[in-house]
Symmetry: C2
Amino acid sequence: MSLEETFSKLQINASDDAVVVKSLVFKPKTPKSQTPVPIVVVALHSTTTPSGLIASVTSTKDPRLARDELFQSQFKIQSGKEFHLGHLAQAEGAFKLLLDQQLVALADDTVLQLNDEKFVKKSDLIGKYLNSFEPLEVDFSQVVEVAKKEASAPAPAKSAASLEDAKLIGVTVDKALDFSGWYQQILTKGEMLDYYDVSGCYILRPASYAIWEQIQRWFDDRIKGLGVQNAYFPMFVSSRVLEKEKDHIEGFAPEVAWVTRAGTSELDEPIAIRPTSETVMYPYYAKWIQSYRDLPIKLNQWNSVVRWEFKHPQPFLRTREFLWQEGHTAHLTKEAAEEEVMQILDFYAGVYEELLAVPVVKGRKTEKEKFAGGDFTTTCEGYIPQTGRGIQGATSHHLGQNFSKMFNISVENPLGSEHPKIFAYQNSWGLSTRVIGVMVMIHSDNKGLVIPPRVSQFQSVVLPVGITTKTSDEQRAKIHENARAIESRLKKAGIRAFGDYNDNYTPGWKFSQYELKGIPLRIELGPKDLEKEQVTCVRRNDGKKIVVSLNDLEKRIPEILEELQQDLFNKAKELFDTHRVIVDEWKDFVPALNKKNVILSPWCGVEECEEDIKDASAKKDDGEEIEVDDKSPSMGAKSLCIPFNQPTLKPGQKCVKCTRLAKTYCMFGRSY
Amino acid sequence: MSLEETFSKLQINASDDAVVVKSLVFKPKTPKSQTPVPIVVVALHSTTTPSGLIASVTSTKDPRLARDELFQSQFKIQSGKEFHLGHLAQAEGAFKLLLDQQLVALADDTVLQLNDEKFVKKSDLIGKYLNSFEPLEVDFSQVVEVAKKEASAPAPAKSAASLEDAKLIGVTVDKALDFSGWYQQILTKGEMLDYYDVSGCYILRPASYAIWEQIQRWFDDRIKGLGVQNAYFPMFVSSRVLEKEKDHIEGFAPEVAWVTRAGTSELDEPIAIRPTSETVMYPYYAKWIQSYRDLPIKLNQWNSVVRWEFKHPQPFLRTREFLWQEGHTAHLTKEAAEEEVMQILDFYAGVYEELLAVPVVKGRKTEKEKFAGGDFTTTCEGYIPQTGRGIQGATSHHLGQNFSKMFNISVENPLGSEHPKIFAYQNSWGLSTRVIGVMVMIHSDNKGLVIPPRVSQFQSVVLPVGITTKTSDEQRAKIHENARAIESRLKKAGIRAFGDYNDNYTPGWKFSQYELKGIPLRIELGPKDLEKEQVTCVRRNDGKKIVVSLNDLEKRIPEILEELQQDLFNKAKELFDTHRVIVDEWKDFVPALNKKNVILSPWCGVEECEEDIKDASAKKDDGEEIEVDDKSPSMGAKSLCIPFNQPTLKPGQKCVKCTRLAKTYCMFGRSY
């Protein structure tokens, strides 16, 4: 019996208790002259398979998820999407097979569910099929050996050690080596988020939702100061209404989720879940606005929207349901609308810079990148140092009269009915939970989360320390009692503090726990502290110790938290500032990009040229084939924004790419 | 050509610009010996067709939406759902046809969309078809003549007049005569809510959302004080997970909305929108809770849920999507869980009584009425005087170990591993935007909304008054300037105030507007007030005038608002208290119910007896046929709760319905 036949005979009926197994194919970096040897990884769905570890156990270089070309040449199938384990039997050449130890450890009669919804008994799959390919068992939970460090961001020796220390509960992936594996780990192990059984959806646990609440309160107060009122519109849209503004919906149509059934009844007409609420709200704006005295109307809602993306989902950054606010306003004059667009953008920048300690660049999107159906889009753009990529922070759109003409949001002219009626000038603006992901990526480290104190759910943890077997009960009780008093004083002073007085864990274990969770300040009280009437504070971001006299508690702790906040911002700002480089000539463009910079270049403003820049910067400069994945330096540079804060254009300055005169400096970069 | 043929030939192609037209069939109250003459109303979808007005123009009594029996006997179709205008041609006997004047006024070539998705030209429908039935044109926007008043709630002469005054913008339906028409009007005209083009979904406008925000802040502060944390779980549930707890899902299954498609791709497996989150959250509780030290876990979310009810929707009370909070906690001991259930119920009662000025009765649901899958349900129950019906306010459930056993939420025994593991004791508790509907029904009147000051978006409006053509510009400016100063002082004092200084509207028009919207306190400043350094305050709830010296503004206005709040509660409480009667003998039960009371009766606690009570109280006592609708007195009495505050049972007291001994007093009533 051929292997193909064997595999197809292994299949059994679907089971509800099946354990989901993934199979991934990686291609190591290979000189062009050689045929790459694919690495096939078969692992529990829940197992993280960092590429650094794969490289290490297979002694290959930089393995990445294989592209369709490899599947075509090696497995005789058109695309990676079709791939299943049966295709191993028809491989053209050699490949390496890695088996997850956790999978091997399952009971023999466990039913496995493979990628393509095939079901098979574990013992059959491994014993009768995979073992014929001489697999290598791998413990994917092992600590990645930190084989190399990037020159630009050398990790101190201490950091490598702490990765070792954290083996059991802590982060096992190095931020510098496997950024996306690291991101996933700190979010889940830091208890900020959990993965959910509907793909692309995530659970926001209290640690992240509390950050969202801080942002909500800050932003809500400010927009209410502008006269914005909150409201709630239904999450459902009829297809007729959704499709009314054709240009607008074109961008969203492929991602709209449709409800077609209720209970066991098919609905007469499918109903969409809002991807955004322009078409939900504007028919009612038309109804409610009867006179120019009804303007402006300024409504906002805090809600969730659904965009059923088929691209690889990523916590906070690309999720199928996400929380956001969407503001929708209509004004009598263009000036009033434009003023608001800028005011809101300033608030968005404030959320990033003042709350999240994340520096951003404010600017305007190019025509190519603006919101479809609007007049212009303003944005604040962030920067992720590890990947050297830009990330869109939040956008505030001026819609002009495009939607008001479509939905007939119009009023009689205040000058009198002999003058033409006026269509309202509209804005829409949104900020989503994506901000939390950006914040995490920028500040956190190999010990876990680092969260700025202004937004973190808890700002400090009070811990009794230095209690040993020799400590008397009386002494122990005294330390505990005083620690509790400190906690209570901090809370009274408005600091979000808590204490951990559990004797079952060592202070060291607790240190790791609260470092993992990103509590900004650890406040230790030991026998010596007590003696000297002081506490020892340790900053999460840099481990710096600060001794504070008990008398100064209410005054100093808030100061220390504010300094910490400011230091986080300064550090991130310096990284952004030094990686935002001015490039006037094309020859320097891609090399600068490859050094993980975003680039300010003189630009002609022509859309084709913008596309040229993207295409030309996508080519790799080392002669290898093009690959696009999360870590690839080969992605083309998009225009991120035309910054409001412009370098001065020299007279006669040409566009960085073409021969036209430059009109402006534009910020380009690889991006999320 | 027969009329049937004529009608079927009128149909034209669907049009996007079509105006939606509804056709409704009413049955007037008719002695059993006579054949009822149906009243067919053809009107714009947007036109409100109050039954009081229909009664008046047709000189009939108490017309109500016809039931299937009438369609069977008069139009030869099985059910009202099938009815369309073509069926008029096959009517068995006489009927009256009413045409909406606004429909008649449309341009002749307007395309109309009928109930059943048929399209027809307006001139054809009326000219070639409906005119053959000798229709009567009706102006449905006209004021209903208040022909009779109920003895129990005589409206003062002034109220009848204000209905007259309010012709253009105000409420045109009398609360006592057409409660549901009135409810709809005050919500929409008071700008609290708008109807939406997806049936059963409503828009919460700022006036209602702001109330929700007040409730959120109040309740959120209190549960955080208990250590509850907010989180957000996805709105989607896989069918596998949703259906895990069979008893629980059985109650929700017929109402679950299913997403089956994203963009143009059919999903592999339909995904449900949460009707509630027990099964969404508990698998993760099982994962997160590893040790008894992880207990208690107390999470809450502020979200929306979807229950696709097929019953007649009603704003706030029964909607397909609604906002709520759902708290889900797991405890190590039953005692801790039970203590929390009661604490939360007290908070819910606080929302009603302290914020919304709505009195409630706290108690426990019977086994029949409790939450499926839980151990017991506590509830606070309200009362709507106009209909004499009880309404469930909010419920706090103790789930016992039922869900924890199903989802394996368990921990090792703190006493040691030799003791059996412990399944967590769980609670879930929810409060929805329904509270706003209850509040509106209870306090509001024929002038519009009445909103308690503690929750209303705005607590007072400052209005310049007494400015006539004789007022000098200087005097006018001075009044305005002082009014603005008053507004500013009120705001500084933390009062949610605004001013209306628009000269284009008369004070009288403004009074009506803000009465319609339920602004609790109107603060007038006229020339005489200015002279005497005072303002004249008018309470929305009873029109009572109170003069306040300008010096006392910051002190007196909050006091007046608090008095108003208390008066609203006292009035509602008196109505509830006097309509909650003790009935020990069955012969008095239905008569008491028919007097719009809820009833406290001694009860045996047996479920069959509870069902008997419902059946027996559903029979009408006047020999007419049974009808069930909003105003019908024929609905059976359900058990509302077993109040915690119990009358004393006499020794040997029998159950009100059967021969068993009574175990407890139970509150019964017709209900929402």
